[in-house]
Amino acid sequence: MAKKDKHEVRDPIHVFVRLDTDERKVLDSPELQRLRNIHQLALTYLVYPGATHRRFEHSLGVMELATRVFDVITAPPIHDKIRDIIPNKDKRSYWRRVLRMAALCHDLGHLPFSHAAETELLPEGWDHERLTKEIIRSDEMKSQTWELLEVPVKIEDIVKVALGPKGSKELIFNEWETILSEIITGDTFGVDRMDYLLRDSLHAGVAYGKFDHYRLIDTLRILPKGGGEDDSDEPTLGLDYGGVQSAEALLWARYFMFSQVYCHPVRRIYDIHLKDFLQKWLENRKFSTETKDHLEMTDIEVLAALREANSDTKHPGHIHAKRIIKRGHFKLLYSRNPNDQDINPNAAVAIYEAACKEYGPDFVRSDEYRQKGGSQYFPVLCKDGRVLQSVDLSDTLLKVPVVVSDFVFIDRKLQPKALKWLEENRNKIITSKEEIEE
C-alpha cells in the first residue's frame, strides 16, 4: 500500500487541520511535541477550569488560519499598486510552505506555563522569541527535521516569517517577507491572535472571544496604506469594505478577552506566585537558554516540583508552592480606577509602595498590564476603488478601549485589615507630593 502523504488532525476550532508528510515531520519533531506540555493560558485553569489547552493545538490552528489568509490575499483581485510584490506561482508555492512551517514553529521558545515574566526568568537579552529563533536554527532541528524534508526550505526564511520584524530586529525584511510575517504576528490581523482568541474563548467557556473569522479572512487584502494624496504606498494587510464589521468584532473580542480572562486578577496573582516559586526553584533564579535544557523543561517538570515543594516545609519555594497548590493566593487590595488616575497617574505604584512599608514586601505584590498592539487603523478598499482608513469608515473602532490593569495584592490573612487601612489612607497616599522627576 502506498505511504500516506496527507494527514489530518481533528481540531475543536477548525474541525480538520491537514498536513503533508514534510509538515508532519515538523509536527512530530521533539521541539513541536514539547508544546503538548505547555499550557496556553498558564494557571488560568485554576480560575476557568476548562482552560487546560496547550500551545500544540494552537500552533496547528495558526498554521490552518495562516494558510487560509495566504490563499485569499494572493488570489485575484490584487490591488494595482501591490501586483509587483506577489511572487510567481512557483515561488508562491515555496512561500506557502514556509508560512505553514513558520506558523507551526512560531511558539517553540515559550517557557513552561507560557510564562510572561521573561525579564525576570531569563538572562538579560533573552525572551521567548530569541529562544524560538535558537531552536529553529539549532543543530538538532537542522539535522533531525529540516534536512529530512523532501522539499527543502531555508531555515532563515522560517525564522523571518515566524517571528516578524519585532522578533527578529537584526534581520532586514523585504515587503513580501513583511507581509508574510504580518499574517502570523500582525498587530491587527495576525492569525496568532485570531486563533488564541477563538481557542481561549472556547476552552475558558466564555463567549467574548468569538468573531466571524470566516468572513474576516475572506475579505483580507494586501493594500497600500492609502488615505490622502500624500500617503505612503507601502503594502500592508487591509480589508475589503465588506469585512469592516468582522474586524470591529475581532477588536472588541480582543478587548473583552483581555479585560475578562487574561487580566482576571486571580489569574494574574497565580502567575506572580508561580514566578516567585520558579525564582526559588531554578538554578540562579533563571531558566536555562540552552536548547537541550529548554526542550526538557515543560509544565510537567514544574508541576512535579510544585507538588514536591508544597509537601516539603524546608523547600525554599515551599510558601509559594503552597499558595498555588492549596489555593491560598493573595487577595486583591487595590485595582486601578479613573478617579485615582486623575489625581496621580502612578496611583497603583504609590499604593503598592505604601502597603509594602505598612505590611512588609513579602506580603504584598503588584501587577501591571498595558495593552500591546491591537491597532484599530488599517486600510480599507471601498466599492469605488478608493483606499480609505478604517477609523474613518467605522463608528465603533475608535471607541474600543485600551486594555490596562493595575493591581495590588496582599496576603489573604491581612486583607480585611489592609482594606480598612487603605480606605483610611488612600487620599493621603495618592496625593503625596513626592517629587518623581529626576
Partner: protein
C-alpha cells in the same frame, strides 16, 4: 528616563506638531520621535527598526497605547489619513510632573516639530528612511547620495530613486541645522 517622564516628552512633541499644523497621526509621531532620539540625542530609549513607513519602534507604539489608557492622549478621527493623536484630559497633569525635563528638551522638540510638522506620511517615510540609512551605515560618506538612494529603493521599492535622492538631500540639510543644537560638529 522613567516611563511617565518619557510620556511627558512625547506629549510635548505631540503639542508642538499640532501647533505646526501637523496631521499628527501615529506615523508622524513615530518619525518625529526617531529624529528627536537619534538626531537630537534625547535619551528616550526606544528601539527603532526599519519597518512600517521607515524607522519604527514597537516600544513607542506600546507607549502611545499606554498614554491613551492613561488619558494623556486621545484619538480624533480626521479623514482621509486616519486619526490624529491629540492631548487628552490628563495631559496637563502629566506636564506638571516634569517641568525640568520639558524645559531641558524644549528647543529640540521645537526643532523637530518645525522641520517635520508640515510633512505628510509619504514625505516623512522618505525623510526618516533616509536618515535611518545614513545613520546605520556611516561607512558611506555624505557625498554618496546615489548609493544610498539605491539602497532606500531596494529596501522600500515604492520609494523611487529620485524621491530617495531628494529625501537624502533634505535629510542632510536637517542634520546640518541640528548640529548646533546638540553640539556636534
Amino acid at each position: 528616563m522613567k516611563r511617565l517622564q518619557r510620556s511627558a516628552v512625547i506629549l510635548s512633541l505631540v503639542e508642538e506638531l499640532l501647533q505646526r499644523d501637523s496631521w499628527c497621526g501615529e506615523t508622524h509621531i513615530q518619525k518625529a520621535t526617531y529624529f528627536l532620539q537619534e538626531l537630537l540625542r534625547v535619551p528616550l530609549g526606544f528601539d527603532f527598526i526599519l519597518y512600517k513607513h521607515g524607522p519604527f519602534s514597537f516600544d513607542l507604539s506600546d507607549e502611545l497605547m499606554a498614554m491613551r489608557a492613561d488619558n494623556m492622549v486621545q484619538l480624533k478621527s480626521r479623514p482621509p489619513y486616519g486619526p490624529s493623536i491629540i492631548p487628552g484630559p490628563n495631559s496637563e497633569r502629566l506636564k506638571q510632573l516634569f517641568p525640568i525635563t520639558l524645559q531641558k528638551y524644549k528647543e529640540r522638540v521645537e526643532f523637530v516639530a518645525k522641520e517635520l510638522g508640515s510633512f505628510g506620511v509619504a514625505d516623512l517615510e522618505r525623510t526618516a528612511t533616509a536618515l535611518y540609512v545614513t545613520l546605520k551605515d556611516t561607512t558611506l560618506g555624505d557625498d554618496k547620495i546615489e548609493e544610498r538612494a539605491l539602497l532606500i529603493n531596494k529596501l522600500k521599492p515604492h520609494i523611487s530613486i529620485e524621491n530617495a535622492r531628494l529625501s537624502l538631500e533634505n535629510g542632510k540639510e536637517i542634520r546640518e541645522k541640528a548640529k548646533s543644537l546638540v553640539g556636534i560638529g
